[in-house]
């Protein structure tokens, strides 16, 4: 599907503020994303990364804030938006198989009452194949490994054929093979002109994976191209000195290399 090159930003968020109790966890976050980019949302634990995504998607009530998707309110543009929740958000002992979960991605397009048929099955299989899970289509979902479950969730989002994606820690607790499969998929989505926002924890891979980064710590610390935003100074600001930096010896350019973020 060709991307909509209208020049309108796929996502504009203004003054998003969210509170669970009295004190806001996310305050006054405003940003606009560029079409066709992979964007990493980075920040320490409790920085409100998942909360921000949930508030944008209307899954968490916000105190203030507006979300525009391609210039229109999110509520009217839902079909353009795909969401990959954290794996732990569902009970994997549900009586269903991998293909069936992937086909759920088509339910929005099907609408009320209509049942998934051969066409949905074909799309589901295609999406499973894209995440390297075609052989597991009929497998009961509780018998999939954590990484495989994550890939099933990704395939479900693919089946939705959205243009703007939100992924909540897709790399959490997966092995190298799954991580590689996910990143291939992200790049494939990018090639198709889609925009993907990813909540991410591993600082070591940020520069390699993302075009832009958003540093979050309750407030928006910085947002922009990875090369100019993902700097030691900005990271110190976001993580508040809870980071360990090591000067790389192998790297001639003497760039800081992160070994651990103790968020």
């Amino acid at each position: 599907m060709a991307a909509n090159k209208s020049g309108i930003a796929p996502l504009t968020v203004t003054n998003m503020t969210v509170a669970y109790q009295k004190k806001p966890v996310v305050r006054n976050v405003s940003f606009e994303v560029t079409e066709g980019e992979l964007i990493g949302i980075i920040g320490p634990n409790g920085a409100g990364k998942s909360t921000l995504i949930k508030a944008i998607l209307g899954l968490q009530p916000s105190l203030s804030g507006e979300t525009l998707v391609y210039g229109k309110p999110y509520k009217t543009q839902r079909k353009l938006v795909g969401y990959v929740p954290q794996r732990e958000s569902v009970d994997w002992d549900f009586p269903t198989n991998a293909l069936d979960v992937v086909m759920m991605g088509r339910y929005g397009q099907l609408g009320l009452f209509r049942r998934p048929g051969a066409k949905e099955k074909a799309i589901g299989m295609e999406c499973l194949a894209k995440v390297g899970m075609a052989d597991f289509a009929g497998r009961q979902i509780s018998q999939l490994s954590g990484g495989q479950q994550q890939r099933v969730f990704l395939a479900r989002a693919l089946a939705q054929d959205a243009t703007l994606y939100f992924m909540d820690e897709p790399f959490a607790g997966v092995d190298a093979a799954t991580e590689k499969a996910i990143i291939q998929l992200l790049n494939e989505l990018k090639r198709q002109g889609k925009t993907v926002l990813v909540v991410h924890h591993d600082l070591a891979t940020v520069e390699q994976y993302f075009d832009s980064v958003m540093l979050l710590n309750g407030e928006l610390v910085a947002y922009g191209p990875t090369s100019s935003t993902f700097t030691e100074e900005m990271l110190q600001k976001a993580y508040g000195g809870r980071l360990t930096f090591l000067k790389s010896h192998a790297n001639a350019e003497d760039e800081p290399v992160l070994i651990a973020g103790r968020g």
């Binding site: 929740p85 549900f94 009586p95 339910y107 209509r114 998934p116």
Partner: protein
Amino acid sequence: MLNLITDPNLQWILLGSMLLGISTGVVGTFAYLRKQSLIGDTLAHAALPGICIAFMLTEVKSVGLFMIGAIVAGMIATVGISWITRYSRIKQDAAMGIVLSVFFGLGIVLLTQIQHSSYGNQSGLDKFLFGQAASMTAKDVYTMTSVAVVLIVVCALLFKEFKLISFDPGYARGLGFSVATLEQLLLWLVTIAVVVGIQAVGVVLVAALLITPAVSARYWTDRLGVMTVLSGLFGALSGAIGTWVSAGTAQLPTGPLSVLTATAVFVASVLFGPQRGVIAKLVRRRTAKRDWAAENAKQSGAGVGASAKERGVSA
């Protein structure tokens, strides 16, 4: 026992019990998967004030009016549960507990009021509350038939939606489905099934008819469609066997016997379920153990010295 086939009265009871079993079995599947196993209990107890108010307002002992009162009370209770879980930090199970006790408390107060007032004897009320399948008439069976048809048709039409909100409600909302409406609709279907069930098996036991067939069905399949159908069948089977046993022995009540049958089906499912059953698990474990022992024996036979050395190192 023969009179089951010939006695028209018993035929009605048999049909009614089976229809009830199908209804509670089908909607119970979703209640169970949505981790609302307590919902049957809550709604059954919440029905009490509804029944009392219906009686106080009309002063007529009519099953139809009782059912309307019970359904209205149940619907209010479900709205209360949804409201508490949505706007407070109280979890669903605690919310159900709160609603159950508040409604039942109110119901007991009203029931006592009725007993001590000039409304006359309320014997019709407690028959309704504790259930009496044997008093089922043709008219009740018609009601049950229409209820069963409505429940099954709605569950079939909205199968995909109910599956989605049971598995991943957050994602369903993201897709643009009105999750709150669907959840409420599902709760109302459960309410109707429970209220119809109260009449046959009573306030306390109706919860069993909602959950037991669903839990049993889960042991036999990994597919939601099959599970829903099986749960309905188990419910119907329990109703049928309950009626049959009750007809054969003079004094035993039909409703409780249906519940006991459902429990027997559950025990059989736990034991004999093909994948998740206790016996299947034991057999699988034993086979795995034997295979592993055989493999080990082969290996140690091939290289006794090497493995002994390894063991020495690792120890």
